[in-house]
Symmetry: C2
Subunit: 227 residues, 2 copies
Amino acid sequence: MNQSETALGQVLTTVDVVVLTLVDGVLSVVLVQRERAPFAGVWALPGGYIHAQEDADAYASAARVLRSKAGIEDAYLEQLATFTGPARDPRGWSVAISYCALIPQQKLPTHRPGLKLVPVTATGQLPFDHAQILQAAVARVRSKSQYSSLPVHFFGESFTLPQLQQVYESILGEPLNKVSFRRKMDELGMLEPVPGEMQAGGAHRPAQLHRVRPEFKQQLALSARGL
Amino acid sequence: MNQSETALGQVLTTVDVVVLTLVDGVLSVVLVQRERAPFAGVWALPGGYIHAQEDADAYASAARVLRSKAGIEDAYLEQLATFTGPARDPRGWSVAISYCALIPQQKLPTHRPGLKLVPVTATGQLPFDHAQILQAAVARVRSKSQYSSLPVHFFGESFTLPQLQQVYESILGEPLNKVSFRRKMDELGMLEPVPGEMQAGGAHRPAQLHRVRPEFKQQLALSARGL
DNA sequence: TTAATAGTGTCTCTCAGACACTATTGG
DNA sequence: CCAATAGTGTCTGAGAGACACTATTAA
């Protein structure tokens, strides 16, 4: 091993985060306005350099980027994929470790300048290869929604089963059978009713509030192939 | 943007490849003996620095590492996950983009010094976080084998359905129903019979050889969540 | 009482697995 | 013919979806 050999491994190393949430049942992504070159002023996925001095790993980098560039705390975060090459960033050969974040809309900062929420199908042009990263994130969420309770992360502490079903239908883009849906959720065994109830709309029977069982809260992050 | 900001993104950037194959029905991994520090002489996953000057992307880096460190060409390669942090490599904060390769045993170089094939359950101690990377690769192959034809990459050009079923059973660790298995393979529509046949064992009816339909050969790499 | 949605019991149809049968080879 | 494995037709039980019914609220 020598200096020049060591230098071979030195490329730009960044994280990019696809923050997804539901706005009136529409899957939407958080974009931030870039403060610096390249693409200063352009709307893009929140991203930034890895800070080797302060980050425990790339997951921590992603969490820090979310906090500092978008004011988002406590999102569910999962590694997505890593995008690389000489062309994706004009500064040179780069590595972008991408993360996917799911968060309820209420947890997003309201009216933060330089932050906006747009439907994933209406982002317009995105810089770098962010369109590709976004596409991968949406595909991943759709895919995992078919066999896991991933979408519960779009909610806060509690939610009703009809609400949850609407979210699944919105993500998968097809209506679901009520009986089958509830049977599946029951089999997964991840949810439990909370004593309180829900009224909201009003002129009908209120729905039972549910929450994720504590023992499953972290397991969700580890399950399947998200790392 | 300034120089010190740029330097923040500069960490060690490597690729590690988990090469899996089947040896008499046992899922096994390729280890190579490290030539340099750290861990010189120790058996480890083939890995190396990204060479920004020559690699088109990290996938190309992985293919080059496979060729130069293990003499392996033409393996099926799929990005696995990226492992990061200050502790995994004694040289400092590092990023390891890991890839999973599936290859038939016949395509491996025979008797190459500094290369060995061991069952994934009997690797002994591995340097860096290679044990964790291996574990992720095995979990991924098991998981994808449940709903895709991924295991066809353990074969060369053609194979029989009984052979393929044995491989699935070996990977999943459970016997499969013959009728259901063949029905599933038929539904996936990825295989086609080749005019030739197979006799081998001999004293029984020969099995029809099959191959992957050309139009699915590359699609396999793109399907699902492998990037 | 009515309208509206929550939640459940049950029937049916589909599909995966079990079983048994036929097919084809070597000896 | 026999042994051994390849390959297929069919039955059955479990599970998903369709439907209809009950439950509970506001107006």
